[in-house]
């Protein structure tokens, strides 16, 4: 018999992960999960009441377990402990092994070890298959986030690129952790592929718009720039795998058809992979 909804999540990625492992246990998710996204898990999370990480909400819900992330809600963490609630915390993964450990850990807390194990296997297999296809192509790629922030060594996005069989040009150029690139640097570095996490919903923002600068359109790169929904890359869920498949599809499509005239490829297909 399914247990009552008794888990409160105060972290957006935890919302999604619990949504995959034990959706019936979720009594409350963060308000961020109610914002329109292109995620497969979105309708499920949208149907669960939202919280803003306030202690009053915790006391009202009386959850058996509160799960948060390593960063964020620091004020809540101390208050929750003071009032004697059961607080659990997932660390921020900087590589894929840490992400897999998070899944296993969450599975243990929720009593869903086998589902967590299946999820890890699914992610490992999916990324491994893509790596086999892309690694022989020797592609120098980089992920350029809003306002030119790029991932260097010791960063999850760097680990993700390597897991796809791509080499991270930002890390090769000496960037550690997070760094910022200018348009001029991008032109000199000339990566084979630029991946831009973008919001595919709502209006414009200058923070991402600068990647549409006409100068970049005149750079002849091996593959056109690809825009991927930022929501797909922000948490280590099957959406990450979906993004990887889209990046692979984009690369293979232009590998076979290098004269394709499309410069920017928007990934707008609805996620369709189901796990649970």
């Amino acid at each position: 018999m399914a247990r009552a909804a008794d888990v409160m999540s105060v972290n957006q990625c935890v919302d999604q992960m619990v949504g995959y492992l034990a959706p019936d246990r979720l009594s409350s998710v963060t308000w961020l999960s109610h914002e329109q996204t292109n995620l497969e898990i979105f309708p499920l999370l949208k149907a669960i009441p939202a919280n803003h990480g306030e202690i009053e909400e915790v006391m009202n819900l009386q959850p058996a377990m509160i799960i948060g992330g390593q960063f964020g809600a620091p004020g809540l963490k101390s208050l929750v402990k003071k009032f004697g609630y059961d607080w659990h915390e997932l660390s921020l993964p900087q590589d894929l092994d840490a992400l897999y450990r998070n899944w296993e850990q969450l599975g243990a807390w929720l009593g869903q070890e086998s589902r967590a194990h299946d999820m890890v296997t699914r992610l490992q297999t999916g990324l491994g298959d893509i790596q086999k296809n892309l690694a022989p192509l020797n592609i120098q790629a980089m992920v350029v986030n809003a306002n030119g922030w790029v991932a260097g060594n010791d960063n999850f996005q760097d680990a993700y690129l390597r897991a796809l069989g791509l080499s991270n040009i930002a890390a090769e150029r000496g960037i550690q952790g997070w760094g910022q690139v200018s348009l001029e640097q991008l032109i000199y570095w000339q990566p084979d592929l630029i991946i831009v996490p973008d919001s595919l919903f709502g209006g414009q923002a200058r923070a991402t718009q600068w990647m549409d600068h006409p100068a970049l359109k005149k750079v002849h790169s091996r593959y056109p720039m690809v825009k991927v929904d930022a929501g797909w890359l922000s948490c280590g869920t099957p959406a990450l795998l979906r993004a990887a498949k889209e990046i692979q599809r984009h690369i293979l499509q232009h590998e076979n058809n290098p004269s394709a005239s499309v410069f920017i490829h928007h990934v707008v297909n609805k996620e369709s992979d189901h796990v649970t």
Binding site: E35, Q36, A146, N147, Q180, S182, L183, E184, Q185, I187, Y188, Q190, S199, F201, G202, G203, Q204, A205, R206, A207, T208, W210, H213, P214, A215, K218, V219, A230
Partner: protein
């Protein structure tokens, strides 16, 4: 200093800093651009639009500052101080982030409409005959309100990255601007600056007071329209592509006044050139600072203009007491 010498010096200075700006790269410092395709692309597609936009917006702010100061007979007037720039930013933000307009030229149009609204609120509520400090206080209130509304709009914007743009709109920048932005604002800036420049002969007469100017054949209503429309077109267009850059229009006319025989008419053109010079210099400076997130250009102008404004305020107060 004779007028021709002043104009020549400012023009030469402007051309020199524009050349420096073309040779200045973000993080790369001052280097002679090579002939390879990457350097040439950077030169023509990134540095040239940025330099031209800084020069044009500087010229607009300098000229608008000189005209507003002459027309209001108020040494503290400037599009930024009076809240016209921040109202314009509010207009542009509303257009850009809420998809009200999907065509690119609608953002400058919204910026211009915001500037017109700001000018209209200021003049109809306070009146141009109010005391110096009253107008400035009204401007401060308008500034605070429109900046808060801009922050609110960015907060409510559907795009999750909108909040990251707050600094741009409040402090201004020429980073990542392209020739498209230049073409987008060319026409309104040209019309706005022509309207403002054509006013310069009337400014000397306006300095004698509205009644005297009227008796000498100057139509107050026509001047009001020219100042309002000219400022809104030029400043509104610039703000919509570069954000709010405060104090540039305040400082420049003051520095030049002793060199132009304290005649408002003679101040307009040199102020435009010096405004351009100031912003191109400031834009070179922000690119020469150590790597990391680029400093907003409005920070540089405010660091210069803030203390200058306070000094001016004290100076004006003392002059009022002595009168």
């Amino acid at each position: 200093m004779s007028r021709s010498l002043l104009l020549t010096t400012l023009t030469m200075g402007l051309l020199a800093v524009m050349a420096v700006s073309l040779m200045t790269g973000r993080g790369a410092g001052l280097t002679w651009p090579g002939w390879d395709w990457q350097s040439q692309l950077i030169l023509w597609e990134i540095r040239l639009p940025r330099t031209l936009l800084a020069a044009i917006c500087g010229a607009v702010l300098g000229m608008a500052g000189a005209v507003l100061q002459g027309w209001l007979r108020n040494p503290l007037a400037d599009p930024g101080v009076l809240g016209i720039s921040s109202m314009s930013a509010l207009g542009a933000v509303m257009a850009m982030y809420f998809g009200l307009f999907t065509v690119s030229w609608m953002v400058p149009l919204a910026g211009i409409l915001g500037a017109i609204a700001g000018f209209w609120i200021l003049i109809t509520l306070i009146g141009k005959e109010s005391g110096i400090l009253l107008i400035v206080l009204a401007g401060a209130a308008l500034n605070a309100f429109s900046s808060a509304m801009t922050a609110l709009m960015l907060n409510l914007a559907p795009n999750p990255f909108a909040m990251q743009d707050m600094l741009f709109w409040l402090m201004g920048s020429f980073e990542h601007r392209s020739l498209e932005h230049l073409w987008l604002i060319a026409l309104p800036v040209l019309i706005g600056m022509t309207l403002l420049y054509r006013l310069s002969p009337a400014l000397d007469v306006m300095a004698l007071g509205e009644d005297t100017a009227h008796s000498l054949g100057i139509s107050g209503r026509r001047v009001l329209w020219s100042v309002g429309l000219g400022t809104a077109l030029a400043v509104g267009a610039c703000v919509s592509v570069a954000g709010v850059i405060s104090f540039a229009g305040l400082v420049v006319p003051h520095l030049l006044r002793p060199l132009t025989q304290w005649q408002p008419r003679l101040l307009v053109l040199p102020s435009a050139l010096a405004g351009a010079l100031l912003l191109v210099c400031a834009d070179v400076l922000v690119r020469m600072l150590p790597p990391g997130q680029e400093l907003r250009i409005g920070v540089v102008t405010a660091l210069l203009g803030g203390p200058f404004f306070l000094w001016l305020l004290r100076h004006v107060r003392r002059a009022e007491v002595e009168l």
